[in-house]
């Protein structure tokens, strides 16, 4: 019996990773197979009478079940509103519940049906699914009412949660739920036309969790308390790739409250009865590390090596060499033309630094393995847990809680901290709950950074100053290389490294393009960081175009407009025009302030920002940021604005202050005293304007992040004529 189970788990993981790997980054790869069936084998989760997404209770409360984790994006509000719109539910009686793990019922349509949140896809992939669920349930209630009242279904209306007939008969969902549950769901329910939406797009679509999150009652992994639960902390090797040589636990075990100390794959675990005891136990622990296979290069050396590769001073390796991602015309002419703008850009490693450091609760050894935590990719977490516990993936139960931010960090192929917790819980055994707690220092030093990136750009221009040839080289680590064998990125171009440069309207508008990527091996774990490739490509494209506009003697907005027209980039034009109008681009900036503009498309949405910037106490100060976004159908304008505000702060924090450095392979930063992040007095005031659209909704969580960096750099360039060729702008 054991062997087939093992085969299922292994076979599934390869295929699953293919799909998730490609899609977390924003692209999509659909695989038509019975994968969701395979991945959910062993699951006890069953849909109710109204399907997997809706529940109705006799008191009239409508519960929308979210297959996506809420860690700030506001997706729970948007997902609920989609279903509530088609139901014509009373929004004040709509609640949101987090779905359990089950790939078959709750798979992400954009991730080939595996369950996960990422690539700003929650709303987009649920759009048709939740509309259909809402419309289907609505039809079931109408049928039930028609039968009960003896009137034709066509004469029944539903509005704001009230099902009514002209005869005066009316009822709420709660009163009719028993009858409606017995009605066969319609095969293809009729969806509303966008013109008749009464909830979607209004300011009534607001968060459902603000009260809980303002009174301290919202439950995070950090808050889980279970009878007999142990707290674990782990001493990790100081360098990536290091392992435990030997350890002396005698002093650690003497710390009151420490229960056990043992070695696991990723270090030495200290388990205790309280968090403080576990931390003190670890302080008393003596570990000798085996660093024979550890990465010992510092970040300065890694960058120097990247620069030599980009310039050709060092030849690229034969295996995994340069790969073209955009090529047209005569490449030789891109290298040859005279009077070129030649520039290079450097981007450091960045930590995600979520407010809640990574953590997990696992219960192993009694019944099916059970995880309680903020799971961003439940299917991967099930698979990785199943491998360690010899379970069917679907049998691994996951209760997903709110998470204190992710920005990409919680979605790793290896489920790194989850697996660490499961290993400890397995060793503890007997179904005793274990909560793994990472301190801030653990979180900041355990890797999975936005990779270090080096770009070189060489552009020649035509008689009017527009790009004639564009040569670009990107050297960075491959994020997709972290995926197990078979995943995309290992052999072809890692899309996560080039997205934003690839597909740029500026390249479309240029007759000759030669753009290539090189992804050398470095032993520092890297990962997607809110907006992924766009964190650097948006900056390079936008700051380069700004310099080209100046060389051409043209207004930056006018220069971009011309390029968008050449490229047929209508959505770019629309957001640029809207932002320029709202910012009063053609009128002088407020006294003392200088404006900078940037535009970028990511995750299906296009964002334009115009930032008002000045230099204060030697560092950039950003005041007002006018933001225009085209994100298709706007579900919740309030939360779209919230994501533009938050995304802007996240991007600005990285561009202004963010930098993880390594000295001889060891991470220099450990906490917020050395890894500086944006604080309230440094946070701009963002005004958000949404381009009206009836297209399906596209991403909102990430597209607000990558635009502010170049907008600020472009303002500074306008101010002093100096291009900003590396981040962060301010060194700690």
């Amino acid at each position: 019996m054991k062997k087939p189970l093992k085969d299922i788990a292994r076979g599934a993981s390869r295929r699953e990773v293919l799909v998730v790997g490609a899609t977390l980054a924003g692209s999509s790869l659909l695989v038509g197979c019975s994968l969701p069936d395979m991945l959910s084998a062993g699951s006890k989760v069953k849909p109710g009478a109204f399907g997997p997404f809706l529940k109705f209770s006799p008191d009239g409360v409508v519960t929308v079940i979210s297959k996506h984790i809420e860690f700030g994006q506001g997706n729970h509000a948007g997902l609920a509103a989609i279903a509530a719109e088609e139901l014509d539910a009373d929004w004040t009686k709509v609640k949101v519940e987090q779905a359990p793990a089950n790939a078959k019922l709750y798979g992400n349509v954009n991730m080939g049906g595996t369950q996960g949140t990422g690539g700003s896809s929650a709303i987009n992939n649920s759009w048709t699914q939740l509309r259909t669920a809402g419309a289907g349930a609505r039809a079931m209630f109408v049928s039930a009412a028609a039968a009960k009242w003896g009137v034709p279904a066509s004469e029944i209306t539903v509005s704001n949660g009230v099902i009514a007939h002209a005869s005066g008969k009316q009822a709420g969902f709660g009163e009719l739920v028993a009858g409606a549950a017995k009605v066969a769901p319609p095969a293809t329910p009729t969806l509303k036309s966008p013109a008749s939406f009464s909830l979607i797009g209004t300011d009534r679509v607001r968060r459902k969790d603000s009260q809980a999150k303002s009174e301290g009652s919202a439950r995070y992994t950090q808050d889980v308390r279970l009878p007999d639960m142990l707290i674990a902390v782990v001493a990790h090797p100081p360098r990536f790739g290091g392992t435990v040589g030997s350890f002396d636990a005698a002093a650690a075990k003497k710390v009151p409250g420490v229960v056990d100390v043992f070695e696991i794959d990723t270090g030495v675990a200290v388990v205790a009865q309280s968090t403080h005891a576990a931390i003190k136990g670890r302080e008393a622990l003596k570990v000798t590390w085996d660093e024979s296979k550890a990465e010992k290069r510092g970040s300065a050396q890694i960058l120097a090596e990247f620069k030599d590769l980009a310039s050709g001073k060092t030849a690229a390796p034969e295996k995994n060499g340069w790969k073209g991602f955009d090529s047209k015309g005569d490449a030789a002419s891109a290298a040859a033309g005279t009077n070129a703008l030649e520039i290079a850009y450097d981007f450091p490693y960045l930590a995600h630094a979520t407010m809640e450091p990574m953590n997990c609760v696992a219960i192993v050894g009694k019944g099916p393995p059970r995880l309680i935590f903020g799971s961003q990719t439940p299917t991967l977490d099930q698979l990785n847990t199943a491998k360690l516990t010899m379970s069917l993936p679907g049998a691994v139960e996951i209760e997903t809680l709110f998470a204190g931010g992710s920005f990409g960090r919680r979605a790793t192929f290896q489920s790194d901290y989850v697996v660490e917790c499961v290993r400890i819980a397995k060793k503890v055994g007997k179904g005793r709950p274990v909560k793994l707690v990472w301190t801030r220092e653990d979180d900041m030093r355990a890797g999975y950074y936005r990779p270090l990136v080096h770009h070189t750009v060489r552009v020649t221009t035509d008689a009017e100053g527009y790009p004639a040839t564009w040569r670009q080289r990107i050297v960075t680590q491959s994020i997709m290389k972290g995926a197990p064998p078979g995943a995309p990125g290992g052999d072809g171009v890692d899309q996560t490294a080039v997205e934003g440069a690839m597909g740029s309207p500026y390249l479309k508008a240029t007759p000759v393009v030669d753009a290539q990527l090189l992804t050398p091996d470095v032993g520092v774990p890297v990962l997607w960081w809110r907006s992924v490739g766009a964190t650097h490509t948006a900056y390079v494209m936008e700051h380069t175009v700004e310099q080209l506009a100046k060389r051409a003697g043209k207004d930056p907005v006018e220069y971009r407009r011309a390029l968008y027209q050449k490229a047929g980039a209508k959505r770019h034009l629309a957001v640029l025009d809207l932002a320029a109008e709202k910012a009063g681009w053609t009128t002088p900036a407020p006294a003392g302030w200088t404006r900078g503009v940037a535009v970028h498309e990511s995750f299906g949405s296009v964002v334009a920002q115009i930032a008002e910037v000045k230099v204060e106490n030697g560092q950039p100060k950003v005041g007002r940021v006018i933001t225009a976004i085209d994100c298709g159908t706007a579900i919740s304008p309030n939360q779209i604005a919230a994501q533009m505000e938050g995304g802007t702060c996240y991007g600005l924090s990285g561009a202004m202050f963010g930098e993880i450095t390594l000295t001889d392979g060891q991470v220099d930063q450990g906490n917020f005293d050395t890894y500086r992040v944006l604080r309230n007095s440094e946070a701009p005031t963002v005004e958000t304007y949404i381009v009206p659209s009836t297209a399906p909704p596209s991403g909102v969580g990430e597209p607000g992040t990558p635009v502010i960096g170049p907008a600020v750099a472009n303002a500074l360039f306008a101010l002093d004529g100096q291009p900003r060729l590396s981040q962060p702008f301010v060194k700690v």
Partner: protein, 160 residues
């Protein structure tokens, strides 16, 4: 040896060692999990509570140092304090993890300065990091709460 603490108007005997930071006593021993761990070194403000009305970072406050100071945590505000009402009205939270600390800092600010200007607000709130970047709404909510009529009763009755 048990230490006695005054938490949310209630006298509590706690058994944690005297060097234990108040944060872990609140969370692990007293079950008051609204106060969060974010950095452990008083850099992020997620663990902010009030000691005799003044904001303090509970991650750096050993229980042996508290004495008779009255500790107030997010749980004692009751959910409908004007600051909390403003937070909900403006949908300030995103991930929400830092918000207990933000709110306690804002409550302390408004108690000492009922009509703070922009500089006073950012001055009082700069110790509280929000990685989601809800800063703008935090500023707006503090102004909103400052404009609201004074609460009938000060943050009084402890939750339990």
């Amino acid at each position: 040896m048990a230490i006695t603490l005054d938490v949310n108007g209630k006298s509590q005997n706690v058994n944690s060692p005297p060097d234990t930071p108040l944060l872990w006593v609140l969370r692990d021993e007293l079950g008051l999990t609204g106060t969060k761990y974010g950095c452990g070194v008083a850099q992020c403000g997620a663990c902010t509570v009030l000691a005799d009305g003044a904001p303090v970072r509970s991650c750096q406050l050993p229980i042996s140092a508290i004495g008779s100071s009255k500790i107030t945590t997010i749980e004692s505000l009751g959910g409908h304090h004007p600051v909390q009402e403003a937070w909900v009205k403006l949908d300030v939270p995103q991930c929400g993890y830092c918000q207990s600390g933000q709110i306690m800092s804002a409550v302390a600010l408004l108690a000492s300065n009922p009509k703070p200007d922009d500089e006073a607000i950012t001055g009082a709130m700069d110790g509280n990091i929000c990685r989601c970047g809800a800063y703008q709404r935090i500023r707006e909510a503090i102004k909103d709460a400052a404009a609201a009529p004074a609460p009938a009763a000060a943050p009084a009755a402890p939750a339990a």
